[in-house]
Amino acid sequence: MNIRILLTYLSRPSRYRGAVFTLGAFLLPVLLWCAVSYVPFIWHPMVKVENPGGVDYFTPGMLVDRSEFQDQMKEMRQAGKPLPVGVRANPIYLPAPHEVARALYTAFTTAPEQRDAPWLHQSLWHSIQVIFWGFVLSSVVGVPLGVLCGTYVTLSRLSEPFVEFFRYLPAPAFGALAVAVLGIYDGPKIAIIFIGTFFQQVLVIANTTRKLDTTILEAARTLGTRGWRLITHVVVPGILPDLYRDQRILLGWAWTYLIVAELIGTSSGITWFITQQARYQHFENVYAAIIIIGVIGFGSDLLFERIGRRLFPWDRTQERKSA
């Protein structure tokens, strides 16, 4: 009965329906994570030693495999020594939600373990700057080139084979080269984001440009528009909503290059934070950092979508999506 009500609610167009789906999309994985973390018989392949008993190499707080713990239990029982005591636990790389939640908060309030190391928010800000410059530099060249390639067949024939070829080269492969040319600080990192974004960008935007309805171009031509003005007054405004959407997707790709880029030269930004925390086995901090990246990426995309709706009130694709 309740399910029926829920289903009819979901199938009815509503302003909040989207929010319900969004919530559900996040709720399901979180519930799964909670179940695995808090319900011992689902997984919990380890045992956390509370009292080592007679086992000489056990220490309190140590994580051992369940089979190993049972073997030791058996041995101790046979040897007549005190039995070890422990509770079932998950591996250290899977912290429980509440631990990660606490880490999310404390990560910003705890000073870094090394004196001169940056705080988490400083690391994040550094990462955002690297992404920003890589993406802006790529767009400054890639967007105009993409639009021109989509408009002029000759230009696209001339440039696209090379771009296509380059697109298949993994951007991180240029890491060493980038360091040699640009030094060990932010230069090579920005370069990797640039390489990872640029070639896709040219192709994607050229394709978007080609999809512009030819009738619109022809209408403009019969109204006396020609040459350069055809691009500035018809092609660009005509593809703008789609171009904006492309840029949003490309920005997402730029984020995926971030971690690799930041490992190049001296490790920095959020990657540095993550590798440090992993080294000290603070996996809840690692998860917290990953979640923060996700929140920033997803949040900024939502923001850009909102802005897009304001900017392009004539765009029909958005209405179709939210309808």
């Binding site: 309805d213 022809e218 109204l223």
Partner: protein, 319 residues
Amino acid sequence: MNEHTPTPTEALPGAGNGLPSYLEQSPAVRERFAQLQQRKVILEVRDLQKRYKSLQGETEALRNINFQVHRREFVCVIGPSGCGKSTLIRILAGLEKHTAGDVLLDGQPVTGPGRDRGMVFQGYSLFPWLTVKRNVMFGPLMNGHSRDSAEREARLWLDMVNLGKFADAYPHQLSGGMRQRVAIARALVNEPRILLMDEPFGALDAQTRAKMQRHLLKIWRNLDITVLFITHDLDEAIYLADRILVLKANPGEVQEVIEVPVPRPRSPEQFSTPEFRATKARLEALIHPPEAQGEEEAEGEDALPEKIIRFTNVGDNVE
């Protein structure tokens, strides 16, 4: 004026039901055509040919097209699907290059699109990112008018098509008929020598369509404008046109140029007059040869050389 021996194809419909010949014109209509012929030729098409090269080989879309359009004349082009109507009008608009022959506008050869030929497309061709008013302002702005004068003209033309109230709406907020009215205003604001329309009302429902036809006739009556109008709706062609250019397919050739004997001013009541029905019967015979004779007959028709010669003669006589 047309020498014409009835063939089996055209003898069937219309002939036996007491209709007059579509060639019969009342004195008033004859007078009107005589006057029309005196007017200046705005558009002249001579021996126009168009071949498309594609992977499947060459297709001859148009062959030996000859006709003239006089100033303030309303000419409809009609023909079966694929006979090259769109190709023809796109060549006239300068959007497509012809492979042989001449297209002369006011005696000057057409080399590309230009503001002297306005075009209204079948599909929606409004700029979706501009409001209705901005759409109409687009042409004047592109042609160097100031923003003020462009806006003034746009308002004028929007009032002309009864869309003054929708000046600030976006195209997607309008109905199909309204959009085409904006497209007409947008084309006319440039003051073209000739307005080219490729099935502009093809996507509209019957009622809107009838309204648009009335509207277009009203605009045409009040303005010094020449119209070349493509349609596949026989009623629409007869209702609107002074002359109807009938094309046939494979390759696209002028089959006949019909002077519509229905007097002006036109009104929907004329749909049932004998002249109207006679013209329609003739068009039907030309465009949809009777079913019973089927495909082979149509192919056999192509093989009759003397008929083709007669068709070209018909075209020549009229011009």
